[in-house]
């Protein structure tokens, strides 16, 4: 054990804090620290309707006007109940739609389309949002796994266990074929342990750097020996399992992989780790220990239940605090699916992976073992341009004059072009049109100066009324109004 001090950085208390919050997250946190001072919000409490839209963005991908009406009838508490208990919500329309689309899930692009459409049309948005969370945390990438059907299988595992007990999720993913290939668990043998899974299990999945030693990595790798794959299924090969005593995080015994996970989740650092991950994903990044404490408590006393933890998060004052409002930068997935859901667009999957790539995210193919850095790292000059160009493709197809970018023409089931004019029925003043679009997409909550820019943009020249405006001019400005709203700083935030 002594020797390992030299292969591990010495940690001071101050540094440990940095490591837990910053080092693991890499560039995301690095940039976050640069912009943290700019991530302040107003202190005004949120109105009930803003709270509802905030909730729908965080637990899903926003809502169309008609969905929003349904949730308004349920009220905030009723909506939380419905979102959380999603297994009681009928999702047959989604399944019918996906069956009809008949994606070949053994291929990467159809697999990505399949998931994006699930997110766009599910009646259980929280189920997909949690699946996206687990995909980002307990991540694997098709670039190494190679087989899309194994990535699909892992994705289904996350969906089916999204609110399970954390140790069960860790044990399940440790036997997941895609994960086993991704982190070389399948080639971990007695006498020649492969440390890849053992290290990332602790560093990235459950504890964070600074809460274990290099010796713990080696001992854990020994415990996982013999876990392998046979015919692409988990197989415990006794011949290759190291049956000797292991000393791991101050426990000694003849441990196997499940024992290792049980020891890990009992560490206070693990409870804090997973609570922080969920808090930072759903509420706001990098909460203080003091803020986190009651949530850690709930997680531990519920015997490590993710459902108990997220329920507490979604009903907490912190979740609806001004500090949490617009405190997250949308991922490309959230940005794109948010547009499809918000505008009620019809999509069949075509074109979606391409725009996702340009915006910097390929589902099922994160850049490395830490998943996507996320946060401010989502926004670079290149990805910002790609987001606006996505908005351009969508909004310039709105009137049906251009083909829908995300659906093939289908004579048997013609896709109705999104009808801009329906938004302007009964609208007599430019401000009405602007407020309608802002209300739909950004909670109607922007700076008055921004609202005025948009009003000016859709005000016909020379005092002409909207009713008498040149129709070509009106079409251009109507499309432009939607484009500009999807381009707004506020629409990039969740």
């Amino acid at each position: 054990m002594e020797d390992n001090a030299s292969t591990r950085p010495r940690l001071t208390t101050g540094r440990r804090n940095v490591l837990v919050t910053a080092a693991v997250a890499g560039i995301g946190a690095l940039i976050a620290s640069q912009v943290a001072s700019s991530a302040r919000t107003s202190t005004a409490p949120l109105t009930d309707d803003v709270k509802l839209q905030h909730l729908l963005r965080r637990t899903g991908f926003g809502a169309s006007a008609s969905e929003l009406d349904q949730y308004r009838k349920l009220g905030l508490n009723g909506t939380v109940e419905r979102l959380l208990n999603y297994e009681t919500v009928d999702n047959s329309a989604l399944e019918t739609r996906l069956n009809r689309a008949n994606f070949d899930l053994s291929k990467p692009l159809p697999l990505e389309m399949w998931w994006l459409l699930r997110m766009a049309y599910t009646a259980r948005p929280f189920e997909e949002k949690l699946t996206l969370f687990w995909h980002g945390l307990l991540t694997s990438a098709i670039s190494k796994v190679g087989r899309a059907e194994l990535m699909f299988q892992q994705n289904q595992f996350f969906r089916q266990n999204a609110m399970g007990r954390f140790p069960d999720i860790l044990k399940g993913v440790s036997r997941d074929p895609a994960m086993m290939i991704w982190l070389d668990l399948n080639s971990n043998r007695k006498g020649h342990p492969n440390e890849n899974y053992a290290r990332e299990l602790m560093e990235l999945f459950s504890l964070g750097v600074g809460n274990y030693s290099e010796q713990d990595v080696r001992e854990s790798a020994r415990a996982f020996t013999g876990w392998t794959l046979r015919a692409q299924r988990f197989f415990y090969d006794k011949r290759f399992h190291d049956d000797g005593q292991k000393t791991f995080l101050a426990h000694t015994g003849n441990f196997n992989g499940n024992d290792i996970i049980d020891i890990i989740v009992q560490q206070p650092a693990s409870a804090k780790f997973i609570t922080n991950k969920l808090f930072s994903f759903f509420v706001y990044p990098n909460p203080t220990d003091q803020v986190l404490q009651p949530f850690v408590q709930t997680y531990v006393t519920s015997s490590y239940s993710i459902k108990a933890l997220v329920q507490k998060l979604l009903t907490s004052d912190e979740f609806y605090s001004p500090r949490a409002y617009r405190a997250l930068i949308k991922s490309p997935t959230e940005y794109l699916v948010g547009i499809i859901r918000g505008l009620g667009l019809e999509a069949d999957g075509v074109g979606l992976p391409q725009v996702m790539n340009l915006m910097g995210q390929m589902l099922f193919n994160p850049p490395n073992v830490a998943g996507w850095p996320g946060g401010p790292a989502w926004l670079t000059t290149g990805t910002w341009l790609a987001r606006l160009n996505t908005a351009n493709r969508v909004t310039t197809a709105l009137t049906g004059a251009a083909p829908n970018p995300f659906a093939r023409p289908n004579p048997k089931a013609p896709i109705q072009p999104f009808d801009v004019s329906s938004f302007f029925k009964g609208v007599t003043a430019p401000a009405q049109a602007v407020d309608h679009v802002l209300g739909l997409l950004v909670d109607g909550n922007v700076d008055p100066a921004q609202r005025q820019v948009l009003i000016d943009y859709v005000t016909p020249p020379n005092g002409t009324s909207l009713a008498n405006a040149n129709r070509v001019w009106l079409a251009e400005r109507a499309r432009g109004l939607f484009y500009l709203t999807l381009a707004l700083p506020e629409f990039h935030l969740s």
Binding site: G26, L30, T381, L454, P489
Partner: protein
């Protein structure tokens, strides 16, 4: 530096300032901001020298890159993965390059390839992300949150209106360039790096972009992420226009055969920017896939091949455009790998490793201490040259920057520059 946000400029009603022929009027406010910014900053160096960083992401296996082929311990540690003496590209009687790096041999023969052996730092981290942060911030204590090259690309736009002091290839901005007030551009492909107009109403472009500009100008602190959104959009607008107008149609010099994929495309773009005098000081490109825990032989061979092909094509391209003398290329990786191979025919995370520095102005040769395979620390190689000595050398010896101020302390330079 003094930060003049677009909001300030819009509010003060600053007149349009001409900042180069390629700038349409609606974006000149942003250029004016940067130009003014630059004129008040102290870093307005007019050097035409460029540093290109190639990050080998994942932890490159140094022992199979620069190979101590004559050392019997090498064969003992690498019974399956070891490269045979008659396969290596021999540099002398004990060192050789991986066979895939044959393309670098002519640089070596011409005395333009420097190899620094056993580069690392004290108490190394075996975590990818911690180690990357250490290298990117030049700070083994991870208490600094500023990329080691960020001050060199500060201001983003130079005095002549060239908005490309730094460029990061790929969707993410390299943390080494992070984060001056105006972020350097990050892009994957030139063709997509522009704001597309409404195809049906091209004449409405100016009105729409002007409204866009004003919407961002009206989104100000303390609104969340106001500085990030404003500076990113500003930098995107300026750089995309400049790039389309100058680089889009550029052709590589004949004989420059870049490898397929993002790495080769990135080097090609960087060469184009240098050929077009876009003011580039630091270019950054990533070659990934070095985390070779299993079945490493074929894969490692392929990515080293891409590395050699990329560097060769880049040098050929720059030479063809008469710019090679202005450019130095260096590689780095967050760590090397364990000295002994593992049972999966791969290697686990390790510590010290060699890196390359090359270019016509580089003094070729082997620097630093060779790895001591007889003296491992828990199976890992000990470092001999602090990575910040390499940084100090390129900062002072090439970019004429104040290394001590950037790195926070003084490090001995290595003699390759």
């Amino acid at each position: 530096m003094a930060v003049l946000t677009r909001r300030d400029l819009v509010r003060s009603g600053l007149a349009v300032v001409s900042a180069g022929a390629f700038m349409p009027t609606i974006f000149t406010r942003a250029v004016a901001a940067a130009a003014i910014d630059n004129s008040v900053s102290s870093s307005g160096s007019t050097t035409s020298k460029t540093l290109i960083i190639i990050q080998l992401a994942g932890g490159n296996d140094g022992l199979n890159t620069v190979i101590p082929y004559a050392d019997p311990l090498y064969r003992q540690l690498r019974p399956h993965l070891g490269i045979a003496a008659d396969q290596v590209v021999q540099l002398n009687d004990h060192l050789g390059l991986h066979p895939s790096l044959k393309g670098l041999k002519s640089l070596w023969d011409n005395g333009k390839l420097a190899i620094v052996e056993s580069v690392g730092y004290d108490h190394p981290s075996l975590s990818h992300f911690q180690a990357m942060d250490i290298w990117q911030t030049a700070d083994p204590t991870i208490s600094r949150h500023q990329g080691w090259l960020s001050t060199l690309v500060d201001g983003s736009v130079d005095k002549n209106g060239h908005p490309f002091k730094g460029l990061s290839v790929g969707p993410e901005l390299a943390p080494a360039l992070c984060c001056p007030a105006v972020p350097p551009p990050a892009l994957s492909s030139v063709g997509d790096y522009r704001l597309q107009p409404d195809p049906r109403f091209p004449s409405g472009r100016a009105a729409r972009e002007s409204a866009l500009n004003r919407l961002y100008a009206s989104y100000a602190a303390p609104a969340p992420y106001a500085a990030l959104l404003d500076s990113t959009s500003q930098s995107a607008e300026v750089t995309s226009t400049a790039l389309q107008d100058t680089v889009a149609g550029h052709q590589p010099a004949s004989g420059a055969n870049y490898p397929k994929g993002g790495f080769g495309d990135g080097l090609k773009l960087l060469a184009a920017m240098i050929a077009k005098d876009m003011g580039l000081r630091v270019g950054y490109v990533v070659l990934g896939g070095f985390d070779t825990h299993s079945n490493q032989a074929k894969h490692h061979s392929d990515i080293l091949q891409a590395l050699a092909d990329g560097i060769s094509a880049f040098q050929t391209d720059l030479t063809g455009h008469g710019k090679a003398d202005n450019v130095v290329v260096m590689t780095w990786s967050e760590f090397g790998r364990r000295a002994a191979e593992n049972a999966s025919l791969g290697t686990d995370h390790g510590t010290a490793a060699p890196l390359f520095v090359t270019g016509p102005q580089v003094k070729g040769g082997v620097y630093g201490e060779p790895p001591n395979l007889g003296k491992l620390d828990n199976g890992n190689l000990e470092f001999a040259t602090d990575f910040r000595s390499i940084y100090a050398t390129v900062l002072e010896g090439w970019l004429q920057a104040d290394a001590t101020s950037i790195l926070g302390q003084s490090f001995p330079r290595v003699a390759f520059l």
